[in-house]
C-alpha cells in the first residue's frame, strides 16, 4: 500500500529521474530540527501546488458554473 511515487516539484525534470538512486531516508529529526523541517514541508507543498494551480484563478473559478443536481 505504501507508494513509492516520487513527484518532481521542479519544472523541468524528465524521464531521467528514474535512473537516479533513491535518496536515503532522512534520519529521525531532532526536536530542534523538527519545526524547520515541517516548515520546509509546507513550503515544498505550496511550491508543488503553485506549479499545478490553474492560471488566472479568478476567471477559472468564475467559469465553474454547474446546473443543479440532487
Amino acid at each position: 500500500m505504501a507508494s513509492q511515487d516520487r513527484i518532481s516539484t521542479g519544472g523541468s525534470t524528465s524521464g531521467s529521474e528514474e535512473e537516479l538512486p533513491e535518496p536515503a531516508p532522512a534520519a529521525p529529526a531532532a526536536p530542534a530540527a523538527q519545526e524547520s523541517s515541517q516548515t520546509q514541508g509546507v513550503d515544498d507543498l505550496l511550491d508543488e501546488i503553485d506549479g499545478v494551480l490553474e492560471s488566472n484563478a479568478e476567471e477559472f473559478v468564475r467559469g465553474f458554473v454547474q446546473k443543479g443536481g440532487q
Partner: protein, 550 residues
Amino acid sequence: MDTGGRLTGRPQGLPAVGEGISVHRVMGTETEYGIIAPALPSANPTLLSSQVVNAYAATLREGLGNLAGTRWDYTDETPLTDARGFRMDRARAHPSQLTDEPPELDELTAEQIALERGEPTEAAVLMNLVLNNGARLYVDHAHPEYSSPEVTNPLDAVLWDRAGDSVAVAAMERIAATPGFSPVILYKNNTDSKSVSYGSHENYLVPRSVPFSKLAEALIPFFVSRQVICGAGRVGLGALNQDAGFQISQRADFFENEVGLETTVRRPIINTRDEPHAVAEKYRRLHVIIGDANLHEVSNYLKTGTTALVLALIEQGRAPVPVLADPVAALQSISHDASLSRTVQLTDGRAMSGLDLQELYCGAVTAALPPDADDQTRDVVERWQSLLATLRRDPMDAARQVDWIAKLSVLEAYRARDGLDWTDPRLALVDLQYADLRPDKGIYRRLARRGDVELLVGPADVARAVVEPPRDTRAYFRGRCIAEYPAEVVGASWDSLIFELPGERRLQRVQTREPLRGTAELTGALFDAAVDAEDFLSRLLSGPERRVAP
C-alpha cells in the same frame, strides 16, 4: 420465477440486517461529479455528461470490459413514494424528481451528439451503462453519476467508490485523447459555490419493521454533527456564497428541511424516498442525501461505518435521541465553525457542540458493542473514538484522515505565506482544484502521492474493483451477467436483468430483489458451468436445488 433459491429467500450463514451492533449491512454510494469543459464555457452540461458515459463505453469496446445493459429498467423505480406512507402527486413534483423516466437531452438530439463525435452513422448515444463491477454510470440531470454496486461493509464501500473515481478518470482521459473533443474536467465535489449543489448519496438497507419515525429522530442529530468527521470543506458561506470564510461541509448551506421527499429542491436532512430496490415488504433503502463527496478514504470509511453503527443502534432501540431545537440552523452553525467549539440548542435546554453530539453517539455504540464484535466493526469504532479525541485536542492534527482538515491546512498555508483573505480567488481555486480528479492537477491527488494522506485500499485493489463486482451481494450476479452475456443482456437495474435470447420473441426478466442473494457462493458455479446465455437461464430457472422455504 423460481431460481432455486439463488436469487430469493435468505441465504444461510449471511447476516441479516438488524442483527447486532456491527458495521456490516448492505450499502452503496452514489457520486454526481461536477463537470466542465474549460475551452467550451457555454457547453450543455447534459451533453458533456453524455460524453463521459460514451467515452467510458469506448474504453469498454476497446477491451477493458463488456458493453451491455445500456438500457435501464425503470419498472421498479418509485421516486414519488414517501416512506411516511403516501405518494406525491406526479403533477406536483418538480421535473427533476421524476427519476423513473429516461433522461432527455434537452433540445439536443442524439443525432447532433453523434455528429459532434464525427461519427454520423454510429449507434445511438448512450445515457446509461451498467458496468462489469455491478455499478451504474449514467447521465443524471446535468451531471455524470456513478452509483456503486451493493456492498456489505464500509471498507468495500470505500473500494467500489474509489473504483468510480477511476472510471471517471478513464473517461476524462479518453475524451482528452479523442481528436475533435475538448477536454472535460470532472470534480468530486458538491457545489459550484455560486448557487448550485449536487449530491453524493449513500444507501443503507434497513428492515421495514423499524418505524421510519424512529430512524428520523435519531438520525437527524447524527447527520447534523457527522460533518465534523467527514465533511469535505468549502470556501464561502451561504447557498449563494454571499459571505466570505471557510466551512466544514460542502452541502450544509443547501438544506432547508428536516424531513422530506425532494432531493433537488427544498432539500431535507432526512430523505423519505421509499424506493427499496428490494423486497418491499422486508426492507427499506435509507437514501441519505446529506453527505459530502469524500476523497479521503478514511473520511469515506467513517462516514459509512459510523452511519451503519447508528442504524444498528436504532434497530435495537438503543440510539440516543438528543432533540435539536432547530436542526437545519444547527447543521449550518456547526459547519461554519472550524474550531468545533460552537454549541447548538437542544429542546431540553442543553447546548452541545458537533463534537459533543458525535461523542454521545460514539459512546452509545461503544457501550452496546458485543465482546465478540468482528474486526472491521472494531476498527471503525476505534478509529471513530481516536478521531474524536484528536479533534477535541486539535482538529488540525487530523489532516491525514479528514477531507475538510486537509483542505483547510492547505488554505491556511496559503493565507500565511501570501497574506490572503478569504475573498481571494486563489483560495476558491484551491477549494475547487482539491476535488479535480486529474491525477496531475488534483490537490487531493497530490497530497496522496506525497504520502500526506492515510490510505485504506491499494491501487491494485482499486483496479480490480473497476472490473470485478463484490462477491457477496447480488451485484455479483449483475456484473457477471454483463461480463458473460453482453450480447443477450439488453437491460438492467438494481433488482432486475433483462435477457433477449436469440430466436425467442419475448424478453426474459430475471428479478434480483434480495440484495444478499445472487452472490458468488450461490451463483458462481452456475456461471462457470453454463455454455451460453440460454443454457445459463435454463439452469438458473430450473436448477436442481428447488427453493423450499419462501
